[in-house]
Symmetry: C5
Subunit: 399 residues, 5 copies
């Protein structure tokens, strides 16, 4: 999880293109979702484990602690990890698996930790919304979605799967970098609630840190929405701005799709019997619940903001049309009548008729010594009246 | 179920018409639904079996298996099928009826397998939303809707009706090709969960494969939505694009109408008592439930995307109007004043008045030796100032 | 209930006006509803029976049957009907009252059949949404709304009130023609479920036939929506098309208002204790419930379709404006510059100056022997470049 | 409650302004609501009684009755009323207080009839949505909102507060005229249910008459909506029509805000235990419930109608723009090319060159004897082709 | 809480800019919310107390009272306050902490009053929606949001956290000025319910005063909405008006976000068991509940009003385009044909052909003695007909 997302926004503000990668990302359709759809394996036996394309090589981390101590190590060999884990039942362990791309390893972990194939399928699958399952006696299987507002100005999401056990927490994710370092730091540091409480508290801390992560994501979205708004109000926005607004709208909707099940998940935890989630843990999850609701509220607010942006864009577009029309109307309205007048005196009515008589009524103005100056004066007066009219209508002022 | 739907999309992309069959399919109204409505038989005795027009001749398949073996055969004669079925109670059977167009046969199956006439009416009727009924002691009647995104870029749907029995599953559909082959393959293959579990597991596997099938359908829709979006952004979309967007919107809404009851159906299964659906089966249906919810989420997302497309289309239309207006305004604004000026010097004010005097004030410019070049210069300056003005407004740049 | 509604649609398609009675029915406001509102009798004692204006003279029909026989007669005298009814307790009776316009008769029926004044008020009132009441020990009072898509392309609705009794069903409606003839026919025909089941089954059959009737109504609406869409896409729709779309939208909303309480009504029946509605009857009502939900789904679909039509109409309107503007722009852009050029050479700059000198710089072109042909060539080139520009913009192609 | 509201609509139809008081009422913002808000007394002790500005001087009416008799009197002195009331416990009483502007009196009534200060605050306050409270043993406190569609074409609302007691009903309202006269008339008339039933029945009758009153209000709204629609379709609506449509929309939303809690209120009454509201009374309230739901349905319908009016107005506006553009385009397209042609022959290319030679190519048309007639013919042909083109486009027909 | 908000609105009405600080506040995005988001501390140990930037130095007030007396003092030293508080258990206390910027003090208060760290985190955090928690035996933790419509025409909000105890109420807020002075005044004044009731009543009084405060906020919003509407209807609104409407819409949505949890909070209090909130207190909270619902109703109304404003603005914009187009069309339509006519008589068709003959057909009009006057008359007639046409179309009238 890189904190540079918002600085990316700032620096991007200086350069011309609003979006760093306009050519590549010009689609409203949710590519992540279609990818998901494409790779679903229709009709496969449920619980069949398959590794999705592009998964990373697993790295195994073990963080073992009791109230006083904390050891931490990356294992390249699962057997070693398992040996240490199984020979230290007096410690609490956080087995942290990053990367899925090793099917036999995954199957072995599944058997060693007594997981259901359907659960493992949810872990390795393309997309699983946030949820909680109780299994075994009182073990929990929790899924969270971690979000990040990327430099490409899109919301990236990764899945965090958490299994609790009597003295351990087992987590899976398909990414080496994550937003959980603050939790690790808290365990490493001398004194922490996590060390003195049951593994469920660690699961809670992980869930909470993911929820907390939603706020910077929302903040980055908020900044971007503001920048889009400034674009519309100050510059001459082009069509791509609308396309970007609509993409942002879709991203926010997607974000809401992440948060909404998070709320349901925690509500379900709060309804669980006390032997699964003790009352003293529920206090903490109740706090999570508040956070989830507030994140949902925020997402809803941003959605309304983006909808307002569309209205603003449309009105702006109509406004620019108005401006174009006013220029046309002012120039045409002034010069078309003038053209008529000068055309009038360009007519060739003849003073002398063919029989030598004088047609005194045929354009005597043309023969007057003051004809031309008087005409110019009349034209000037016409123009002045028109300008006055347009000024009163407010069409001449800058708006 | 043909996997060629998406390749149809790709190849169609090369040819001009966005829709392969534009003339025939130019209606937003849901023809499938109106057909349904037209053929409803008002006031008929409930439970009266009628075969809808266009139903196919039934083909009967029997797949019999136990844990170790599997035999599979198509029967042209129902009696033979029944004989085999009734003389092998030790096996499990999947009786697979494809095509409805034989009323006596349908009635006979209804009696042999002890189905309620209202259920059979649901099987043979034009449209039955996904549902589940318990009947007999603990038999289930399940209806699923199979979907497919056709080469005609529409969502096709077929109904799959499933009855469970003590040692068999009976399915009905009015189509020879279906998306269930993967399940058949799993039974044929040496080892499968299906063979070792009760018939309800087969019913679950069939329900699950139908749900899985929603994802490629959604993926094809997503591709098509993307292509429509590209059309709007890059080309000059015509009115038919809007008509197609609105049809796609309606298709997505129809799709949601398929999926929504699917979710309700599975939720109802999860609420059933354990003697009807044992707890160990509920684990599997809970997985189905997640899939149904995610399909609904996706459908909702696409609906929002399509709504955004309409906004994009409308804005684009307004944009093109803007462009047209700008061309008109620029050309008119430049040439109408110029025309006035040249009209001015086309006037016929006379230097000599009829009495022989000279009207020195009447257009002396015309007699100046530099009159014409100076005028041309003035006109050039006017044009330059106007171009500068339009350039500053940003009307001359390509956008 | 006339089945000619859809043929009315077809024949109307040939004649010019889309709506057979455009002058009379040009209002969006729901006249039927306002009529209802106007005739409500404010502050009257609840349960006061009043006959609404325009009610029809009652006709009394009695259909008496047991498992083997069926007699059917219209009575002009209620006493005779009552005599026959009360002397044949061994038969089952359907007392079918069509027309309300006889207050004493209505009060007498109310007393004879032991109905509550509030129920009778619901029967005779202007509008009662679908509902069910239990009264007496286990009698039911059911209200259904029968719909019909009329030749005037509107949805007509009538109320059917059903009371069940130990051996009879009593129905009220204010229309001589109805959609219940199929039920009568089933009773008349030799063998029918209705004859062998309790009166509640007849009440169910009547409820079901009303629900079935919704489908042809929806089909007629669907046809009309399609025709409106074709109008928009192919012809030059005028303002009245929009007015008709909006009226159709309102009609569909009204239709949904009929169907929605129908669903609630049946859900309430399904929740009733078994001594009121036995389990074996609930199977049938469960089927009704499915039908009501599907009718609601359809109505929802059509509402979306009509909303899409409004968008299509708006876009079309904007499109036609685009077209008008393009014609104006092309013609103006071509001829205004040309006019300037020819105006230029209409100027009267003089070659001879008054003092006899020659102003060689004053429009020498006019004196060149090739001046005119060259000018024409230049004009032709200008036009060609402009046409090329417009062609590239795609403004010249038919769209 | 004046029945002249709808006649006001009719007479207003003859005069030019659609709204009798356009200058005063040109705001969309809900003035009634802001007034309410402004006069709220922040931070006052709850239950503090204050009389709102503009309240009327109280008038006290006592209607006392038993099954056979009925006496009715207005008291100027509350003591007298109380004396009569307290000395006739064998009668039933309706104490009818109209006008709040006497704080000590209000406090005295509160104490005499044992009301809670918070209830009295609700009575005297600016706005209390419909509600029901049980207090004492089984007394009810009911609030209803009476509506009226005024001559100013707005919905006026007054509050009716009802307290029931063992042998009396106590009502408060701040208006001398109300819609309850029909109830009074029913009590005065020889025979009435009200006289024979407990006070709760009178409370029901009052609640019901308020609900009945909603229908004429809705009818008046419906008429007004129709008239607005006719305005849009037939006349050239100006901006004020939109402003009025939006105000009407707001009024309908406000109306819905009155009716919605009415429904909740009655639903709550229906859920009350039988010792508070006996089953035989619930039959009547169930009827009220139906009426409240139907009023809500109607309000919803009108809201949709008004939304459609906005769309119609917008489309109409766009349509008129279309018309303006077509006139411009037709005239410009015809005359601009013609102007070019005549400009062409206004050029001064010289036949004689300065050196005495003849430039035969310089505009020989001008010297042809048929030049002018042929040119006129050509111009006529051009015009005819253009008219044909526009006719085919349908721009010349009246639409 | 300054009552000057609405007068700020009035005085602002006189000056030109609608918004006092247009440059600074030109963003639709919810800055308050993004600020919140930015300062969230991701991954921190839950319950970690941190003081947000910009918090104020704490001021400590103690209001101690029993039924007869009341002492009030600001303490600069918490120890003194605690000493007085702990040595007077016979009194009731309101400990009123304003300002958070002293972490050790906050932690000490937390310990002394036995608060949970998560609760304290909610108190000190950036944003906590309204909520209620029960803790200890029957203590309540209440959060309310105080609102104010500022001179900057925005809704400002502050958080009020309330803890109840056996003989005290402890409140936190980060603002020296608040809207609670009326409550303090009621305690100081000789006789008050608050003095005679348990501390929960004071908590109720504080909650109620915050709710009451919503009404002036809404009134100020209502005034501003009215002023925006007048702007749109009377002046020529510019783009900034739309931007302000959309900001107001967002503010109202934010306001609704404050009020909605308030309603939930009170509903939860009403559902609490009697040992936590006694029945006699629930009467008061029920009153609060009504107020919360009415505030929500109002907020909903204003939201609809603002949405209508957007429609009005859009229509107005379109209307002004119409006006511009009409001016263009009238002037062009009148003068372009006239220009053609005068151009016609500016043509140079020659009467004498080069061979000396007379071309009698070449523009004989030019040689007629009445040619010019007749032409002028014809032009005048053309103009008159055009004006008549436009008058009939209603384009000349002011609208």
């Amino acid at each position: 999880m890189e904190p540079s997302a918002s600085s990316a926004v700032d620096s991007a503000a200086d350069t011309a293109p609003l979006h760093p990668d306009d050519e590549k990302h010009n689609s409203i359709a949710d590519r992540a979702d279609t990818r998901l759809a494409r790779e679903a394996h229709v009709g496969q036996r449920p619980g069949t484990l398959t590794i999705r394309a592009g998964a990373m090589t697993p790295r195994l981390f073990l963080l073992s602690y009791d109230e006083g101590s904390c050891t931490e190590q990356e294992y390249s060999d699962y057997d070693e990890l398992w040996r240490f884990f199984s020979t230290h039942p007096e410690l609490r362990h956080w087995i942290d698996v990053r990367g899925y791309n090793n099917l036999p390893l995954m199957e072995r972990i599944m058997q060693d930790f007594d997981l259901h194939p359907l659960q493992m399928e949810d872990v390795l699958g393309d997309y699983q919304r946030a949820k909680v399952d109780v299994f075994g006696d009182n073990r929990l299987f929790l899924v969270s979605r971690m979000t990040e507002f990327t430099k490409l100005l899109e919301i990236d999401d990764d899945q965090l799967s958490i299994f609790t056990g009597p003295n351990y927490v087992l987590t899976f994710q398909d990414d080496y970098n994550d937003c959980l370092d603050t939790v690790r730091q808290r365990i490493r540091s001398g004194y922490s609630q996590i060390k003195r409480k049951p593994p469920l508290y660690l699961a809670y801390a992980l869930t909470d840190v993911v929820l907390d992560q939603y706020y910077p994501t929302m903040a980055a979205i908020g900044d971007y929405v503001e920048r889009l708004e400034d674009r519309i109000l100050q510059d001459r926005p082009d069509r791509r701005v609308l396309s970007r607004i609509l993409r942002m709208k879709k991203d926010i909707i997607r974000f809401r799709r992440f948060v909404y099940p998070e709320r349901e998940k925690i509500a379900e935890i709060l309804r669980m019997p006390d032997d699964v989630v003790p009352e003293e843990m529920k206090v903490y999850f109740r706090d999570c619940y508040d956070h989830a609701i507030q994140a949902l509220d925020l997402a809803e607010s941003y959605r309304e903001s983006v909808t307002s942006l569309v209205e603003l864009f449309m009105s702006n577009q109509s406004n620019r049309m108005n401006e174009v029309m006013k220029v046309l109307t002012i120039i045409s309205s002034i010069f078309i009548p003038l053209s008529f007048v000068v055309g009038l005196y360009g007519m060739n009515f003849q003073r002398e008729n063919p029989h030598g008589g004088i047609n005194y009524l045929n354009m005597p103005e043309l023969y007057s010594p003051w004809g031309y100056p008087i005409l110019l004066a009349i034209l000037a007066v016409i123009v002045m009246f028109q300008l006055l009219y347009f000024y009163r209508k407010g069409w001449l002022t800058n708006r």
